[in-house]
Amino acid sequence: MLKLKSPYEIKELQLCLEASETARPCISVCDGSGCKASGADNVIKSLRAELDKRGLQGTIDLKSTGCHGFCEKGPVMIVWPEKVFYNGVSLSDAKDIVNSVSNGHKPVERLLYKDPATGERILHEHDVPFYARQQRILFGNNGKLDPKDIRDYIKVGGYSALGKALTDFSPEQVVEAVKRSGLRGRGGAGFPTGVKWEALRNSAVRPRYIVCNADEGDPGAFMDRSLLEGNPHSVIEGIIIGAYALEAKEAYVYVRAEYPLAVEHLTVAIQQAEKAGLLGDNILGSKMSFRIHLVQGAGAFVCGEETALLASIEGRVGEPHPRPPYPVQKGLWGKPTVINNVKTWASVPVIINKGADWYASIGTERSKGTMVFSLVGKINNTGLVEVPMGITLREMIYEIGGGIPKGKKLKAIQIGGPSGGCIPASMIDLPIDYEALTQAGSMMGSGGMVVMDEDTCMVDVARYFMEFLEEESCGKCFPCREGTQQMKGILNRIAQGKGEESDLELLDDAGWMIKETSLCGLGQTAPNPVLSTLRYFRDEYEAHIRDKKCPAKVCRELIVYQIDETICDGCHACVRVCASEAILGEKDKAHEIESAKCIKCGACLEVCQPKAVLVH
């Protein structure tokens, strides 16, 4: 690709690319990590083979794209220009798909999405309920472009925001626009991005650095990864605009080493941007020079914390440091540094292109724009969703998520990653908003959303998250290192039926203390899962302590497996699956479980046809 020498040339190139777009149909197959896992690579291979076999390579385009969000139904694909949406495609479907595309586009009925509510097949992606309530301003292009081809990005209007910023905005005006848009950091704390940038501009110290936080250590979160894999140029464009506004010469993108695909796509994208004159010296013919370096992180969760991350880039131990001084005062190598999350950077081009006021019109009073969640747990449609701020949890769970599987009841929603709080089903009309979530004892965090149904034990949930956080605590400061361990110990005790009434007060006290006194955000939020479940599900804790019962029948130490002899027909099925030989009984006579031997694995429960196995 030729070097672009002025902002104007971006526009020209875009028009040129648009014009060259033929009426050729294009099959764009999702090759994101989710769909890859369900066999997208093979689907692509077989589609290619099918096209080759029929000599259709020049007539039908094939493209592999980043994640479309609906990974649950993967591999998914869209056939352009009709925008037909196929899901659950397997390699044997290649023939029918190519057939349909080459013969007048009669859609392959069986691969269309079937609405579970009505049973109807849905033709277009935007009509699928999962997508209908979303507003995908960051992720919308993922399904349209090949992440390894900068021209694809430019074709959909990419880098036009950079051109606009360079020609129509002064650096101060860019900061002003970001401030006015109301954008808040998407990495967790939700600090107003424009205010952070302004604070950096107030410092006279040079050089200034930019850092993009792509550490994404939350288990089950894959928002940043999907964006970097599917549309790396949108993040790069945001960073370059930031560099213009902040007059920085260098940026570091800190990516988790476990994301090889993201690293690969980002590396390619940076090279392409350099070749195109969008990075390097004299960007787009201006006086601006700017470079982006890639740093691969070793992987600890706490390395996502900004001061630990900076230490890690500098080659020091990835442990947090007290703030102030904040990174904007003293960051990388002691120099002023702005650090923002991947999605925060990717929001910047949107704000420049569509205007701060347009962006600020989305959302609530204090939470603007869109938020990306990874929706997982006991929910029908798991996946990546991008919604306008202010949408209620009800819309999230029932409209986008398609409700709870197997007709079970919703119990709680845990929001914000491992240290997010659990919000009870009774508060389902709560809007997604930084302040509303914090007030409810949870947090926006990085956008993890775990849905829990009635079979979930809240003590067990609290124990699970505490265990994770105990392991992820860096150990530098006392309350987090020892406190998480003590709290886990108490929760274990309660879950084993050895808890005492006074333990609840102790958990409250310890939780409050750890939140108030810990050095970094990890410790300051670690007690959230415990404190929120104590607040909303105290009766469940009490049942464990007073009655030595686990109401959801999850905590192993508190349940017994028994066989109802009036129902048991003595089929012997359970005896065969019981690994610890705890079931006794002659064939055709009622069986019995020897509770001392029973390890409560539940294997008998699953095989028993007449449902004679009971759990108390």
Partner: protein
């Protein structure tokens, strides 16, 4: 020169001063475990917390690391601070009941119960030894390794490093290595004893280095122990180890 308010008292300090230093300048005692003049602040023990308001929010911050800035409003002993400190010290006692420094703090703060499981650790990871070795002895013979619960002070390859000059400074600064206070309640983790008897050594405590040997006052026990008579103070009393 920044001017800040500590407990309602306005104080002007030099740029670069920490809030802890400013408070101590005013004579306000703030407990610390990981602070030492002459070492770079570390912020790990969290005991030096104070309540700070920046106009918008009131938060607890470690005063040893907090630069004294213009207009800061600091409370060193608000109810919130005291509660946090007490709960923190309660956990410290559980983790490291053998530290006299910690026991004394617990006693002074009125901690009367320890509800956590005792752990009897030999280190609270205050980092004083590591920093002393590196910043005062210029040796850098010890450091932290591991993460989370596996984090510990260690030597390279677990052998005495060639860099170590056997100066003993690391032992000297350690708030835990002091021998255990032989309190009157051997079976409980919490002691309280020393502060309730008229101890003999407190006047000369600073230069006495009495922690190298069990302290007489502690050995004797306090008024809580029925089987021990508290000896009256006498002039010819000598400390163990002192000739």
């Amino acid at each position: 020169m920044p001017t800040l308010t500590i407990n309602g008292i306005e104080v002007q300090v030099e740029k670069g001063t920490t809030v802890l230093e400013a408070a101590r300048f005013l004579g306000i005692p703030i407990p610390t475990l990981c602070h030492d003049d002459g070492l770079v602040p570390y912020g790990a023990c969290r005991l030096c917390l104070v309540e700070v308001s920046n106009g918008r929010k009131q938060t607890l911050q470690a005063s040893c690391c907090l630069p004294a800035e213009d207009g800061l409003k600091v409370l060193t002993h608000s109810a919130r601070v005291e509660r946090a400190r007490r709960l923190l010290v309660e956990m410290y006692v559980a983790v490291c009941p053998s530290s006299k420094r910690i026991q004394d703090m617990a006693s002074a703060m009125g901690v009367r119960q320890v509800r956590y499981q005792a752990k009897h650790e030999t280190c609270i990871q205050c980092g004083l030894c590591v920093r002393t070795c590196e910043q005062q002895m210029m040796a850098g013979a010890i450091g932290f390794s591991g993460r989370g619960l596996n984090r510990s002070v260690s030597r390279p390859f677990d052998m005495t490093s060639e860099l170590c000059r056997q100066c003993g400074a690391c032992l000297y600064v350690c708030p835990v290595c002091e021998s255990r206070c032989q309190g009157p309640q051997a079976e409980s983790t919490l002691c309280n004893g020393c502060l309730n008897i008229s101890t003999v050594c407190f006047q000369s405590y600073d230069n006495a280095m009495c922690f190298l040997e069990p302290c007489h006052a502690c050995e004797i026990g306090g008024p809580f122990r029925a089987d021990v008579q508290v000896k009256p103070r006498s002039k010819d009393f000598t400390r163990i180890g002192e000739k």
